[in-house]
């Protein structure tokens, strides 16, 4: 199960991502325990975790937020494929950075992406999931961390 210090690793990783990539800090809310199936946005990057820990890390964000983030990155392609690429890359970066604290046995998969009308985040039995709210400019996103 995730401990407070471990959640802090993901909060710091998320903070760092926005500060460095967008040169504009995000406001990260207090993590809370997920109950039921969470509301997800149009695009969700998914990283499966294996090795010393098992689970999944999701980064879910609306298209409007991803569009502005792409602009801040000087990107000029705002296609569906680019949005999918970006959510995968954000999830990958935050999860990969977590190895600074979790170590190399925290094995991360290549990203997969959920998108479309109402994608469902599958619930894995026995895993407690925490939601880390992210507010950036006028947009809201979530990092969802489900780990043994």
């Amino acid at each position: 199960m995730l401990h407070e210090q471990e959640l802090k690793t993901f909060v710091e990783g998320t903070t760092n991502f926005f500060e460095v990539t967008a040169q504009q800090p995000a406001s990260i809310g207090s993590p809370y325990l997920m109950e039921g199936s969470p509301a997800v946005h149009e695009y969700t990057g998914v990283i499966n975790i294996s090795g010393k820990r098992e689970g999944v890390v999701y980064f879910t964000a609306p298209k409007a937020m991803l569009t502005v983030l792409l602009m801040k990155m000087q990107e000029n392609d705002f296609s569906h494929e680019t949005m999918r690429d970006l959510v995968g890359e954000v999830a990958n970066t935050i999860s990969g950075n977590a190895r600074r604290d979790f170590g190399r046995d925290f094995v991360i998969s290549v990203p997969s992406v959920l998108s479309g009308e109402k994608p469902q985040i599958p619930q894995k039995p026995g895993l407690r999931s925490f939601i880390i709210p992210i507010n950036w400019r006028s947009h809201s996103a979530k990092l969802i961390v489900s780990l043994t």
């Binding site: 760092n16 991502f17 460095v20 990539t21 792409l70 990155m73 000087q74 990107e75 392609d77 494929e81 680019t82 690429d85 970006l86 995968g88 890359e89 990958n92 970066t93 935050i94 999860s95 990969g96 950075n97 977590a98 190895r99 600074r100 979790f102 170590g103 190399r104 925290f106 991360i108 998969s109 290549v110």
Partner: protein, 134 residues
């Protein structure tokens, strides 16, 4: 015209380095290409995984490679070893989110010359490439 295992020369006798970018994210490949500011660095190709990188490497013979680690089909660590076996003088900059020291050490042991952690600024990218080309 080419020096053996060294940078190529253009028509006016100026040396230039051939760059290959390897990353499974199209955004990251474009970002690296756009953000590097070296006149003597010429992009010769970009690949989305280690296997593609090997094929492209054989065709384009780059001097400098930026290499992601977490990729489908063949990961960056495996690919570094194979590229160095093909061309020991190649200079490889790992650009990866994997932030643990053991991974950086393994990449260097396989033959990488530098390690830049994602996320990165343009300045950090250019400093890392400059270090690589010295």
């Amino acid at each position: 015209m080419r020096n053996s295992n060294g940078p190529a020369m253009n028509g006016s006798g100026k040396r230039f380095f051939k760059l290959m970018i390897v990353d499974d994210s199209t955004i990251m490949r474009r970002r690296i290409e756009r953000s590097q500011h070296f006149e003597d660095l010429q992009l010769v190709g970009a690949a989305g995984n280690g296997l593609e990188a090997l094929e492209l490497f054989k065709k384009t013979d780059p001097d400098v490679v930026t290499m992601d680690l977490t990729m489908p089909r063949m990961d960056g660590i495996e690919c570094i070893g194979q590229l160095v076996a093909l061309k020991p003088a190649v200079r490889i900059l790992v650009i990866s989110a994997l932030a643990d020291k053991a991974t950086a050490v393994e990449a260097m042991e396989r033959g990488a010359n530098g390690f830049l952690e994602k996320p990165f600024t343009d300045r950090q990218l250019n400093e890392a490439i400059a270090d690589l080309m010295r």
